[in-house]
């Protein structure tokens, strides 16, 4: 059955809004982090292993147990996202209230509120987790590596095998299912998986942290465009079953990362990002002032033991020792960085 146009458009809109909110969240709100430790390559490797193992494991567990696990994770993630806005305890209460309401709706047999609340919880949780990762030091390179790995995995798990379809069917209708479903799509399901959503939201945030506003906006637009393209494919009936979103998005993330690096952007640390350090700032050639100092003409009458303080190729101080040559330079009004050399090099 052909999905409805509003549902397809609604999903694109939700993705766009989520990316926008995530970018605002990561910029404006500082999430809590442990006293020491930052996101490193081994964390990416662990995430990759988890992504592969988790669906296989969940398929073997009763659906309600899986829902409970996701519910617990959702509470923690919502608390993480909401704590900077509401404070620790109110955020915990809000997370518990949202999850309790979701659970109650499901138990009382109200599928639409269950879906809506699950979607809301999932959206906030995705923002919380991705914001925590990026603020925890996750680099754009980490995201690109993760995306590259997920490209192959998603293709295999979604298209070449029935793993993701079975996983989706296993959890369909349950609260906290890792699927953002657009309600009202009678018949055909319009939904996007948690993994796809995380990568759509994560890379713009990581690109913003690493490279700045323009790469972040570009990454967001690329994510929305990929989502829109896939929805269009559904509308045009080019595809009618589950589509591996990351097979499209993953290579684009890797390509964006490579392009920004190629353009001379370097990855900023969290501190540099918060200090708004320009990622394209060209480091001055450290040898240039030294070369300039070596070219200085030294009068023959200067004794061998004399020292010269040089600023931009100009001798601005002289003394019997390096420190005294600098003092002489300062006495002459030069307060900037100096290069000191002996009279005879």
């Amino acid at each position: 059955m052909k999905p409805s146009a509003p549902a397809l458009a609604g999903l694109v809109l939700v993705v766009a809004v989520l990316i926008g909110l995530a970018l605002v969240h990561v910029r404006r709100y500082t999430v809590s982090r442990p006293p020491i430790g930052l996101f490193v390559r081994s964390d990416v490797a662990l995430m990759a292993v988890s992504v592969v193992i988790a669906p296989l494991l969940y398929l073997e567990l009763p659906a309600t147990v899986v829902a409970a696990v996701f519910g617990l994770v959702t509470v923690v993630a919502i608390q993480t996202a909401a704590a900077p806005l509401l404070g620790g305890r109110p955020a915990t209460l809000a997370a518990l209230a949202l999850c309790a309401a979701t659970w109650a709706c499901w138990l009382s047999g109200h599928p639409l509120p269950t879906t809506l609340l699950t979607d809301a919880g999932l959206a906030v949780a995705v923002i919380g987790v991705t914001s925590m990762w990026v603020q925890g030091g996750m680099r754009a390179a980490h995201v690109a590596a993760f995306a590259a790995m997920l490209t192959g995995y998603d293709l295999t798990a979604t298209s070449l095998t029935s793993l993701m379809t079975r996983f989706s069917d296993h959890l369909h209708g349950l609260p906290f299912a890792p699927l953002l479903v657009i309600p009202g799509s009678h018949g055909a399901l319009v939904a996007i998986g948690l993994g796809d959503l995380v990568m759509l939201v994560l890379f713009p945030m990581a690109a913003g942290k690493a490279f700045g506003r323009r790469p972040a906006v570009t990454a967001g637009l690329v994510g929305v465009a990929v989502t829109a393209l896939i929805m269009a494919l559904f509308w045009w009936r080019v595809v009618s079953t589950a589509v591996p979103v990351l097979a499209f998005l993953g290579p684009l993330i890797v390509a964006q990362y490579a392009i920004w690096r190629r353009l001379g952007y370097r990855e900023r640390t969290v501190r540099e990002w918060r200090d708004a350090v320009d990622p394209r700032a060209i480091k001055p050639d450290p040898n240039a002032p030294l070369r300039s100092a070596l070219r200085v003409h030294v009068p023959a009458h200067l004794p061998t033991g004399a020292w010269l303080a040089v600023d931009d190729g100009l001798v601005v101080g002289i003394g019997p020792s390096p420190g005294l040559a600098c003092r002489d330079a300062r006495a002459n009004g030069h307060v900037g960085p100096l290069v000191v050399r002996g009279a005879r090099v």
């Binding site: 809590s32 006293p35 430790g37 918060r274 070219r295 303080a309 100009l314 019997p320 420190g323």
Partner: protein
């Protein structure tokens, strides 16, 4: 992030079990450095880091202390010749000791350790480094460290240096401690390597040369233009202040951002003059070769606080070695804990470092840790309690007519101690100023005698700045402005010539 969390849990578990793998602590310190590099600051709950003890319930603290003391006493009694014999003779059973009955263990004097260092080395350890005190009070005291001990000290010091002093990869760190102070040199060099900063060993050379090194631009890639961090004993700072004031150096001549002084009493007067000369006041640290990694940290209110994690600290009356009364003078008696120290075992080691017991519980940011006043000086008999080194230095180092480092001696005479001191010149005005300041500070002196020659002192105090290393380098000795004329003035010689 996950591995870092696991390492922190392994560290905590190791402390509870009493078996700490040095490499775990090392990784924690490396993670801290990486965290600071990425974020600029540590995250929330930094009181969970080693040595950053927060407020702990007294009963819990008592249980932890009892466990640590039993573990330490057990290793000392079971593996060292000295404590094996002592515990056997006195019938003390380590497993029955508690924090409340700890006083059953007789204090260990510096003389005992000096007399036979090997008797304090645990048989199950592998000694690696012989660390010796500078011995300014006589014979150096020898303490053997295993590689594990040293690794622990380095890791904990890395955490302290990175957090307290803010050493970062951009920095150039120099030390002005004697190159023979092997432990300090090794630890500092390794800390700097781990932080990723640059290291300069200046040593205890002539102050003119030190100032010259500090003022010399380095122009190295990725580094600060000049030395940013400098550590030295207080007397070395005193000699640098003297020379800087004499030769006309100003803070603008240096690029110093952090100074650290340890090993000697740093008076407030000296701190102020160091700040005047270099633009930054030195931070203080209380550490000693014998008791590492136990030590003290200063709070904003000037107290000295002792983390309970690394050692047991007692404040005892220096004469009776019984608990000192609030407000009274005390000597620090320290038991460094296993597993931080496993080679040279010391139980209730009498440091002879004098402090004053606080009258009331502290309310500062480190109120969770036991505290005392800052170090007053070294116990050397009742006179050193009546007129401690700190009060003398507070008196003398504020007076610009006194040559730094201050040369003085106290002579106990009927009616009270008389302070003999060397000034630039003998003058009634100097004497009057000193007498007035002594009265204002409440220094209990019968009188002050000013000399203009150190040889006239009845006895001469020794300081770490006396541990001078000689150098063939003559650049610093060229010194002040008049000698610059021997080369040329730049404006005369070059008149702005460009290459």
């Amino acid at each position: 992030m996950l591995r870092s969390g696991i390492d922190q849990m392994r560290y905590a578990a190791g402390i509870l079990r009493g078996r700490l793998r040095p490499e775990v602590l090392t990784r924690v310190s490396q993670d801290l450095v990486a965290t600071l590099r990425e974020f600029g600051t540590v995250g929330d709950d930094s009181q969970l880091l080693p040595g950053r003890q927060g407020v702990i319930d007294p009963d819990v603290q008592n249980t932890i202390t009892t466990r640590a003391l039993r573990r330490t006493a057990g290793r000392a009694a079971g593996q060292t010749a000295y404590y094996g014999r002592l515990f056997g003779e006195l019938g003390i059973r380590p497993e029955e000791l508690t924090a409340d009955t700890w006083a059953q263990v007789p204090p260990t004097s510096k003389a005992s350790l000096r007399a036979m260092p090997a008797a304090f080395v645990a048989s199950g350890s592998v000694p690696y480094l012989m660390a010796a005190t500078t011995g300014t009070t006589g014979t150096p005291t020898v303490v053997w460290y295993s590689r594990g001990d040293l690794e622990n000290v380095i890791a904990l010091s890395t955490i302290a240096m990175a957090m307290t002093l803010g050493v970062r990869p951009h920095d150039v760190v120099a030390t002005g401690v004697s190159s023979r102070a092997t432990l300090g040199y090794l630890v500092t060099a390794e800390i700097v390597r781990r932080v990723g900063a640059a290291f300069v060993q200046i040593g205890s050379i002539a102050p003119e040369l030190v100032l010259e090194r500090l003022a010399t631009p380095l122009y190295l890639p990725g580094r600060a233009p000049r030395i940013t961090n400098f550590s030295a004993p207080a007397s070395v700072f005193a000699s640098l202040v003297e020379t800087a004031e004499r030769d006309g150096w100003t803070p603008a001549d240096f690029g110093l951002t952090d100074l650290l002084s340890g090993g000697e009493v740093v008076s407030e007067a000296l701190r102020a003059r160091v700040e005047e000369a270099f633009g930054v006041a030195p931070e203080r640290a209380y550490q000693a070769t014998e008791i590492l990694p136990a030590g003290g940290a200063h709070c904003s209110q000037g107290h000295l606080h002792y983390p309970a994690e690394f050692g047991h600290i007692e404040l005892l009356d220096p004469q009776t070695l019984e608990p000192a009364a609030p407000g009274g003078a005390a000597t620090l008696v320290v038991t460094p804990y296993v597993p931080y120290r496993e080679c040279t075992m010391l139980l209730r080691y009498v440091t002879n470092d004098l402090v004053r017991v606080l009258d009331s519980a502290p309310t500062c940011e480190l109120a969770g840790m036991a505290a005392s006043s800052d170090i007053l000086g070294r116990y050397d008999g009742p006179l050193s309690v009546a007129v401690p080194t700190r009060s003398i230095l507070d008196l003398l180092e504020a007076e610009r007519a006194i040559l730094l480092p201050a040369r003085y001696c106290l002579v106990d005479e009927p009616g009270g101690p008389v302070l003999h001191v060397v000034a630039r010149q003998r003058s009634a005005r100097i004497l009057t100023r000193l007498e007035e300041r002594a009265a204002a500070l409440g220094v209990a002196l019968k009188g002050i005698v000013v000399h203009d020659d150190v040889e006239r002192l009845p006895a001469r105090n020794t300081v770490r700045a006396d541990l001078r290393e000689y150098s063939f380098d003559s650049s610093g000795h060229i010194g002040g402005g008049d000698k610059r004329q021997s080369v040329a003035r730049s404006d005369e010689a070059f008149a702005g010539s460009r290459a």
